[in-house]
Symmetry: C2
Subunit: 370 residues, 2 copies
Amino acid sequence: MTSEQDKSQARGPIVLSIDAMGGDRGPATIVAGLAAFAQRNKQARFILHGPADQLTQLVEKRKLGKRVEIRDAQGVVSMEDKPSHVMRNGQDTSMWSTLDSVRNGEATVAVSCGNTGALMLLSMVRLRKLPGVNRPAIAVLWPSKNPQGFNVMLDVGADIRADADDLLKYALMGASYARNGLSLERPRVGLLNVGTEEHKGRAELKQAHELISEAAEGNNFEFVGFAEGGDIPGDRCDVIVTDGFTGNIALKTGEGTASLIGQFLREAFAYSPLSRVAALLALTSLKRLQARIDPRRKNGGVFLGLNGTVVKSHGAADATGVAAAVELAYDLAQSGFGDRLAARIASAASSAEESAAQAGAEQEKDGTDP
Amino acid sequence: MTSEQDKSQARGPIVLSIDAMGGDRGPATIVAGLAAFAQRNKQARFILHGPADQLTQLVEKRKLGKRVEIRDAQGVVSMEDKPSHVMRNGQDTSMWSTLDSVRNGEATVAVSCGNTGALMLLSMVRLRKLPGVNRPAIAVLWPSKNPQGFNVMLDVGADIRADADDLLKYALMGASYARNGLSLERPRVGLLNVGTEEHKGRAELKQAHELISEAAEGNNFEFVGFAEGGDIPGDRCDVIVTDGFTGNIALKTGEGTASLIGQFLREAFAYSPLSRVAALLALTSLKRLQARIDPRRKNGGVFLGLNGTVVKSHGAADATGVAAAVELAYDLAQSGFGDRLAARIASAASSAEESAAQAGAEQEKDGTDP
């Protein structure tokens, strides 16, 4: 798989596989976002999946005919469909077709706005997990006080459980994402817990603390130990590792808090005629703030731990959001992220095997040579 | 206990037991906060715990002599002390003495700015858990889009685990807190999960969903089912129930996000000379926003599920924060919250026993009468 991808990259421009269906706003918004990105980037090519008749019109209207290949798929995965149902009956859907283009090596990264649960399950079935990964994860970029402006957080909802070994893999994958997606040479990784003291928290967290601590040196990241909720948007680490239950709730709490403050801000400036005048003068500053916390700027959760990269855009994304998700997919494809991540996991797995074998040999030696 | 408290309340003014030590800013700040509250409220009386020599001076300076009784305690629990160490060796500390005034029935509610873990463990040992409560919880008031301005969230960190029955008790206690602390007649309770569909989430959550659903009608609250992170500051429910691990991380993520947006807002208004002028004009509006998200306004986690109410103020609280925590304690004491909560838990426990007995009787009947 890896060598095939290398070949296809050497052969020509980067190809992205885009699911035109399943977003809340329909295919016209997806194609509009695609067009916005295509105008900023003249190299990328696309395979677009959905009902051919509908898509042909949309693509012609945006004059994207030369750069977009349409792949007909009549079925659509809705937000209400159960993942297991889609897995059994979704062969004709645009989501299935989108993943298969990555599976076949025609495209490097897949992008979909559709049903997260279905997309994750289909991705596991069609792309399969990387050797050494038991639970894939969804990683997001979270606005932070760090110079790079964002922290990586994972898992935000691929799986509600994670054992110590899963959390170690999340650390490796998150560090790899931070190196490729945020250009950090040696990212600082924190393990989410209810306190920073080493004796605190659940048993699997103490065990994961040990595993990640041992892996840090050989895998080119720094382990800062336990992190707290306040560190997710903070500057103590660049990567936050947690299980998908906790991560999902933290993500939605953060989004909810930002939305609450936004509402309070609007109400504060609408309070009196004078404050409405002040709002007019403050408009540029407020827009500057808005731009920094706009979730559309970095729209897209990235599925990590599969043979191939999948970017999940927010279902409610508008054209600006879709363009950001496609851009993220392009950046990851260009940096060769998928292959690097696979190599990192493979080397960590083999070094773990080596040290296990070594430990076994030493034990044996201890046994025979008292 | 209950009848004794009733008597003591009938006998005279409400008495609060205040720990003068253990806060980050020292006893002068605690006494300043106490004085600020005492000026707004002329009825309340206080028992103040800490080194008598130091406290006498501070109390005289604030002219609180007539309303404050000083209880000498030379030991101080520091933020670094392990809870188990304090439990074994903390008899001489101001924290221990503060709780004992509630234990002895001299005061209705205790207030401390000290080490949360030590305060919770000591509270369990000295006040004991309410019959029917296995795990006490810490509840906070969270700024929200609801008309009352705040939602109740629990547990935010008393225990990192909670089984289905604990979550049921949190629902009962949270609803009781919302009725007494937020004056909501029939609070809406949500159970925190990664999605609102009933099939989602961990096994204990599905079980808790069932238990809380059954308890709602008889306990005068509405159960809205599963809630998501975004509902914590939202308006779908008034009470959010979760385990202390998830709740603690959500709380700190929310605080961190608010702090990040505050920093971005300051930077946006400091960007250029023009934006600095705009900031001057917008000052009133920004102060109005600040006031609404100021955590000092509702400072204090409340320990629920014990024989007596304990308010835990933020360790870093300034005088304004301390005054808010003392006010919360006073309001809860005045509403007879402790007794009402105990009665609610006792009635829920006996009705659960009744229905269990009834179910047993019916089973027996079914068995003998086919």
